[in-house]
């Protein structure tokens, strides 16, 4: 592909330019000083690249769902911008990888229907499903039960994944469904990357998704063990059957561990020891996000133009948005600044 370097140069330039518009540590410091949500909104509106998407809102009368929808729209716009610079297989792959957001929304919708916690507010945040997905949002949202929702998914790739649950819904099926969807997403991305990409592109994508899957699997095993005391076989049935820097044997041993301390010992021998420091379980999620954040930043610093840059940017933007939401939540519930700061990803403290 002689054009690949050319096309990536354009896409990368675009991605780097967009990256320069994300919030800085300094921005976050200023945000943390704000006393309420309207102040935060007005700061974002005045001083950051989010000003254009926030231009329509009235900062004195804004709620979280509305903001989140706008942020998602902005992420989607960036995705489209980058897509325009890519062509052929690279574009196909990025589109498939971006389906992550569709799946997140789908999981959310299923849990809304499953738990019968109908609320407009929650439905508001299903932006991708509503606006950008090829799925028929109106049909899905009208589903009265999970079974009905599954049958409304007929003709899509998700139907195959969920068809089994029709008539097999049990107490803990919500967890099973979410796991099945995640599993489906990661496995199809892994399959696609080998089909569509080659050379350095494939390498960097393999690395990006490999790290993510490893970390997800460790967290998942931990949850299965700690919350549900599941035997190893059942635990392993939830795992995404793919391993990158984690060895298969390590994965199995983690699933076999009899108690939490044994689990922590085993984890400390994996390449991911740094994330799962024994004494701060509540920080594991934040740590893993930070780990990925550093990885994406390192891709952005590389000289070699590749698809990785585009993917890394989209993740970083996602993290940026997540941080803003974290700040908004923290300020709303009047948490102390240091406490909120702990949960921000990639902000120099």
């Amino acid at each position: 592909m002689p054009f690949s370097v050319l096309s990536y140069t354009a896409a990368n330039t675009k991605a780097r330019a967009l990256f320069g518009k994300l919030l800085t540590s300094d921005d976050y410091k200023k945000l943390l000083d704000k006393k309420n949500v309207p102040d935060i909104a007005s700061y974002l509106k005045k001083y950051t690249s989010y000003s254009s998407i926030l231009s329509e809102i009235n900062e004195n009368d804004v709620h979280r769902g509305e903001l989140e929808a706008l942020f998602k729209a902005s992420l989607y716009n960036d995705f489209i911008k980058i897509l325009h610079f890519l062509g052929g297989n690279a574009a196909k792959f990025i589109e498939a990888a971006f389906l992550r957001h569709e799946i997140e929304d789908l999981k959310m919708l299923i849990s809304i229907i499953y738990t019968r916690r109908e609320s407009e507010l929650m439905k508001d945040s299903l932006v991708f499903l509503k606006k950008y997905s090829t799925l028929d949002y109106n049909k899905l949202i009208r589903s009265r039960s999970v079974e009905e929702l599954i049958s409304n998914l007929k003709g899509t790739e998700y139907y195959k994944v969920l068809a089994y649950f029709t008539g097999n819904l049990k107490q803990n099926s919500l967890f099973d469904i979410e796991m099945a969807l995640d599993n489906h997403f990661f496995l199809s991305v892994i399959k696609l990357k080998d089909k569509l990409l080659s050379g350095s592109d494939r390498k960097i994508v393999t690395r990006s998704f490999g790290l993510e899957i490893d970390i997800l699997n460790i967290m998942l095993i931990y949850r299965c063990k700690k919350l549900f005391y599941l035997p190893k076989e059942i635990t392993l049935n939830y795992v995404i059957p793919y391993w990158y820097r984690l060895k298969k044997s390590q994965l199995v041993r983690l699933a076999e561990s009899h108690d939490i301390s044994e689990f922590k010992d085993l984890v400390s021998q994996t390449p991911y020891a740094k994330i799962f420091k024994a004494n701060e379980e509540h920080m594991w999620e934040t740590n893993s996000m930070t780990f990925m954040y550093r990885f994406y930043k390192s891709i952005l610093r590389e000289k070699q133009p590749s698809l990785g840059v585009a993917i890394a940017y989209l993740h970083l933007k996602d993290i940026d948005i997540r941080n803003i939401i974290t700040v908004i939540e923290g300020v709303r519930y009047s948490l102390p600044t240091e406490e909120i700061e702990k949960y921000l990803i990639g902000v120099d403290r």
Binding site: D176, N183, E233, L236, N237, P241, A255
Partner: protein, 638 residues
Amino acid sequence: MSILKMKFISIVGRKDYFDEFVLKYVVNSGIELADALSKLENIKGLSRYADEEPHNDLVKRILSVAEFIGMKNINTENVDIPSQTYYTVLQLQDEVSLLEKEIRSYTELMEKYREELNQYFHMQKKLELLIGLDVDLDSFFNFEFIKFRFGRIPKKSYRQLQLYIDDFDAIVYPVSQDQDYVWLIYFTPKIYSEKVDSIFSSLYFERVRLSAEFKGTPAEALKQLKEKLSILQNEQKNLDENIKIFAQSNRERVINLYRAAIQLNLISEIRRYAACTKESFYITGWIPEDELNKLKPTIDSDKKVIYILEEPDMLKNLKPPIELKNNVLFKPFETLVRMYGLPSYNEIDPTAFVAVTYFLMFGLMFGDVGQGLVLLLAGLFLLKRKVSLGGVISGAGISSVVFGFLYGSVFGFEDWIDALWIRPMENINTMLFVAVIAGVLLITSAMVLNMINGIKSRNLPRIFFDKNGMAGFIFYWSTVILVLYFYKNNKLPFSLGTFIIILIIPILAMFFKEPFENYLHKREFIPKEKGVFFVQTFFELFDTILSYLSNTISFIRLSAFALNHAGLFMAIMILAGMTKGFGSIVEIVLGNILIIGLEGLIVGIQALRLEYYELFNRFFTGNGRAYKPLKRRNLVKT
């Protein structure tokens, strides 16, 4: 030869007649719609039609129905259909829904059969494994101490199973695979069966019970299964027959529906240009005169509408679209004009000029009877394949043949026929001279065209003061005569006074072109700062005078390429001379192919470059707008 004359038509009619009228007359007419509201903005009470979405979803649905009944290219299906039945949107939607319902029932059945066949296939595989057993199936699955299960799990689950299969309390035996599933048997001691079954259920194991369907030993069961299979296959055949019949009987209906939907789309598209009051509609647009003559009798006899025609030059701020009209010979060369841009409405259509000049220039540079014939054939082949450049290439080929006879060259051989005019390689100076003379003539004709365009657009400065107008013409020709005279007689033809008058006056005219224009448009005589104006205009003039020279010399390439052409072939002949017999023939053939491909391309581009840069630039703005009538629109917008 010309640009089509356009008229501006405004049609008024009763609002409830809009759809019928549009479908009857407007949709397939030569009208290019213009926005009615901006044309009639001074009329009170006029408004746009309320926003109406085109029915693209409907078109899409009909297309997928069409695909099901095997009409992939419905828009090109030329079926003589009985006259249109006119549908409303609701009728259309109902009809399409009915068809879709039927199709859904077919596809569900198809799906069901496929699923069942698949299942039987895997059962068969399994039974073939057990064929040696002389045990009743019923008892086989109900052993006291060992539990047997047969069924399928998704491939993904199979991979998860591999993680702990080594120390698992069950023996798993994969039987077969399909696209998404692995079919397997597992057996496990009864004491573990509950645990193992629950693990399998978390692997999405779907059990298939053989004993429910079949009785007896595996061999007997296999026989029963084969019977069932053949019944199923028969049912499938019937279904296929039914689908065929369904497709046959609905072909016309679907085509009709499709056309109706497309028409609805057209109406809503036309509505976007139309305007309306409470009781009437207004459509405005451009129409060429011959199209108008076709439309006239029908509209004239239609009592429900009235129309007004206006001439383009009566309309201040609306520019008519441009449609070139040329005879068969010149038509191909419209491609070259379009690549540059279309003329304005009151300019000359340069197609004929391009055709003649391109023909001459290409031939001069690439004259060879044999190679020309090859180009001609290639061009004709491309024309057949509907490639727009095909015509130009054939023209170039013909001109190459003509000049081939003049130069006496066939496939590069200069000794097969006599030259009717000149052999380029032997008369290099003559060739160069001819080329420059050709250049002078071409540049002059471009200037003449520019003046004609000036007259047509009643633009005085363009006629007299422009560097491609009268001023430039006089200056250029006096210089040419001067140079020629000096070359022949070694002295100036006229005294200094005459010289000044003849050369300086045009220069002054060019110098004052801008002020003169300003004067005409009642603007300030010299608008910018005086100094800036003088310096800038002075240098522009300097550039103009230089470019007369360089543009003329530029035409030397006409003969340079003719020499080049002969020279290249000499090199090939020398190469061919080094080898003996068959090898040299191969080399000559290859050399010819190289020359036709490479040189043909270069010469084609050079001629185009001269055309655009030295000639078009002088008389042609190229900012016309292409005429896009309704009837030429791509009907399928999905």
